[in-house]
Symmetry: C2
Subunit: 533 residues, 2 copies
């Protein structure tokens, strides 16, 4: 195709339609091979179903167990779920005003939120490429809304830089971009990269760097109206005869590098946290509630499994029935799908191969904590114009997440005021886990007011969650390493006679609902194939 | 403060609370001076009100006219609005199934959407820093929801690159970042920038570039699991024993530069389009409807103003009353606030200074068009996993915007399938403006199927809007240049005896609701001061 004219006439424009028709046909042929195959997930698990009446016992009514039950029943299997708690959903849960939980150690966690804010102690956001989660939300009627992961007006904060004053994410991002563009342009002008970049590419690159980095005529990144139009204004453009606009001042390269704030920005760098993300309307438990609507009649609550026995003829699971005063009962089935966290399963009496037993005991569970605080008003929106998103800090609260619902509303609202998991370089999770519930709230307030001084005046109440103090999970998620995966992952996922494990620990997406779902779908697919072999 | 220990104990962590208390007090003193002053907008216009009964005549029931009426009435002025159309809202309007509009040239625009999708021909998204808009939405009870402006899974498309295959925004962004990081790292290693960057900064910069650009151990940007974790996967990590993950392949620097897609990415670069943006739930007219609820009793519709006369004693406006068969009537007042677009106002008989008359005639109005198409299903979500956001192309449709509501729902949905204004380097607006409504739909389909081949199978109906064919605006917005501003802006905004102009054309934020609002608020403030001088 020829280069587009600056302002095509109507006739020229209509003529273009014919010219592009061929390209469309070509791309059409490509697209069916292209994007669809990215995820191993398929909308239908394609189970054949049992050849005769077959009973499947599922241990755990979290998302993996409920999804397995849902699909196995659809395929014609008889299904029963045994669940230790008196609730479904597992680690996917939402706390609201009035909720109580007694954690290990005996402290009671209280949640006294007065408004309609809520708190997701476990999963709290959905990447768009987690197709199984999205597809089940669609099938089961769970409405989704955007979860703002990157808000350029939210803060990056270092207690050791800029006098403790938080900086806007957009400022750090655009200033580093400007400095990088200026340095690379300088290098291109000096001829230092002549071997790496052709003359033609060099000119294109320079042209691009000028726009991308907002460089001036001398290829420098300096305060100007152009930079104001990209990073923002000290005085915004106004109406009528309001004060003249004034561009904001970029942060110099050296203090920016020393502040460490550029590194904090990389929290938004991964594909997992790519914008946009989503969340169910009203709390994450909307997803597990939707599954429960489909399978609740086959869930037996308050069933504490103590032993999984199996032979060639089937499995027998022994459990203490909490609804019958702890009476020991047995349940027999042809197959067993066990979604109990490895941290708990390792303590049970399980008939399986030595290799699987080693695998069950090999995977440590990650530590994680969260604190949520309710405030009288949305000062982050009203004072700081932060509408949703996440701020990061080097303080031990690590991150503050703003609600992505009820924007601009009056009345109380809830911040996820502290959250970390034991995966990064720093690890604050153990020290938070050893605090009492009240100490956690006090600490979240004391650190948080460095970023939002309005905390003191507006605080109402707080709550928290520490995954290593939860008796039914004993940690947050399976913390795999490459070495552990090489040694144990395949064994852990394989069908062991009549038993197969499922859950986020049996996936390459640990800690995420998608990992649980894909693990369950893959397990039942293989189990169904074995049944029909 | 000392460097944070790797894993602080509970005691150490609690001790930190005391250490940071001082910094908090300091920042608290800073914050009251800091962010609040960014916008010249103040939540209360602070009008003193008239010293005696004063009548204000407002021309135009768009957002500027209605906001002026709302605030003037609150301050005690007697207000009347004359509106040319039989509806309020001006250029802030929303089209839904059943709407009809006869444009200049005689063609009838039909909108036959069958689902609950809608189409905003004018403003369609709100930057968070447009504080006046947000504040009025809050005061008047207009719920807002996120408008996804940048979706990394949406497309950048060049008909002349990659065989016409659209590329993901996130891929282009992350690949350019990787290549830039690699080149700058190479230059730093070569010592080419030793004069520009200190040794200390150089090490920090290199370390940052490795994370930011996902460079390998030899500081190169190459396909790897690390790069997969940032730009995405050909085969995503799965669950159980699903196929092994496989990282996607970066696009090389040279074809990327030649494609021009990096330049398209700069559409998201400006402060105005910074994430997150917002939109009212249910269509942009929710905002103007909210104003109308406050002022509808003072609006006279179907009033075509022909003359604005003024003397020292007041103003007299002559208009043809469409409700009375076009009867010529007069309306007298102490002050007149005129929000009629300059493109229309220049044709009326207006008593004002020669300088203001010149200013009124000096500002051309920008051309702009939009086409909206309804489809049977959300194929962009279901097939391409694009949930909201905007795709850009070099084809004359320029951009495709996906709905940011009703995610994952079944049934029909509406795309804003073509949109451009006459501000960029290329200008397709005039040729679209000369097409018939049917031709515009045909063209949007013909170009759009290059990006979404599903268009043909899923198309239901389309509609369009061409601002130069609208008799009450004769163009989209005041297209100022720096020279025009120097010559005419101040005169245009100043009070001319008993007359003051307002609207987006009297602002430094043309085309945006915020410009209209700030212009109106500034005009009434000065008028109130004149009243009380």
């Amino acid at each position: 195709m020829t280069k587009m004219p600056y302002t095509p006439t109507r006739r020229q424009l209509l003529a273009m339609i014919g010219q592009v028709a061929g390209a469309g046909a070509m791309y059409q042929a490509m697209t069916s091979l292209g994007f669809a195959a990215e995820s191993g997930y398929t909308a239908e698990p394609g189970l054949q179903g049992p050849r005769q009446g077959r009973r499947v016992l599922i241990l755990g009514a979290g998302i993996a167990g409920m999804a397995a039950a849902y699909e196995m029943r659809r395929a014609g299997y008889e299904v029963k779920i045994l669940e230790y708690q008196n609730r479904h959903g597992g680690r996917c849960l939402t706390m609201r005003g009035g909720d109580r939980y007694t954690e290990m150690g005996g402290h009671e966690i209280t949640c006294d939120f007065e408004g309609d804010g809520f708190f997701n102690p476990g999963p709290w956001r959905l990447p768009v490429h987690h197709r199984a989660v999205f597809d089940y939300c669609r099938k089961l009627g769970v409405p989704l809304q955007p979860f703002i992961i990157k808000n350029n007006r939210a803060f990056l904060h270092s207690s050791r830089a800029f006098g403790g004053k938080p900086q806007r994410i957009g400022h750090v991002e655009k200033d580093m971009r400007g400095h990088v563009a200026e340095l690379l342009a300088k290098s291109l002008h000096q001829g230092g990269l002549d071997e790496a970049v052709s003359i033609e590419d060099r000119e294109r690159l320079l042209e691009g760097l000028r726009d991308w980095g907002v460089l001036d005529r001398r290829d420098r990144y300096r305060a100007s109206d152009d930079v104001g139009g990209v990073r923002g204004w000290d005085i915004h453009p106004g109406g009528g005869l309001m004060a003249e606009k004034s561009p904001s001042q970029p942060i110099d390269l050296s203090p920016l590098l020393q502040s460490g704030l550029w590194d904090q920005l990389f929290n938004f760098n991964s594909y997992t946290f790519e914008a946009p993300m989503f969340e169910p309307v009203g709390g994450m438990d909307a997803i597990t509630d939707a599954f429960a609507r489909e399978v609740s009649e086959v869930i037996q609550f308050n069933a504490r499994v103590t032993r999984i026995a199996q032979g060639d003829g089937g499995v027998t699971v022994t459990y203490a029935d909490g609804d019958q005063g702890g009476m020991v009962r047995e349940e027999a089935a042809d197959w067993c799908i066990c979604t109990i966290p490895l941290s708990v399963l390792v303590q049970l009496d399980v008939d399986c191969s030595d290799e699987m037993r080693q695998a069950i005991g090999a995977v440590p569970y990650a530590s994680a904590f969260k604190v949520a605080l309710e405030f009288r008003r949305r000062f982050w929106e009203q004072d700081d114009w932060i509408m949703g998103g996440v701020s990061y800090t080097d303080l031990p609260l690590v991150q503050i997440a703003y609600p992505n619902y009820g924007f601009m509303s009056d009345g109380p609202a809830v911040l996820q005021a502290a959250y970390d998991t034991a995966t990064g370089g720093r690890n604050f999770t153990y020290s938070w886990s050893t605090m009492t519930p009240q100490e956690r709230i006090d600490a979240a307030l004391a650190f948080g007011r460095q970023i939002h001084p309005q905390y003191d005046a507006e605080f109402m109440s707080g709550t928290s969650w520490v995954w290593h103090r939860v008796d039914w999970s004993l940690g947050c998620y399976g913390q795999w390493t490459d070495d552990l995966r090489d040694a144990h992952y395949k064994t852990l996922c394989e069908i062991d006679n009549r038993l197969v494990l499922a859950g986020e620990h049996c996936s390459h997406i640990p800690a995420w609902l998608e990992g649980s779902l894909l693990s369950a779908l893959d397990a039942i697919k293989r189990l169904d194939q074995r049944e029909n072999a």
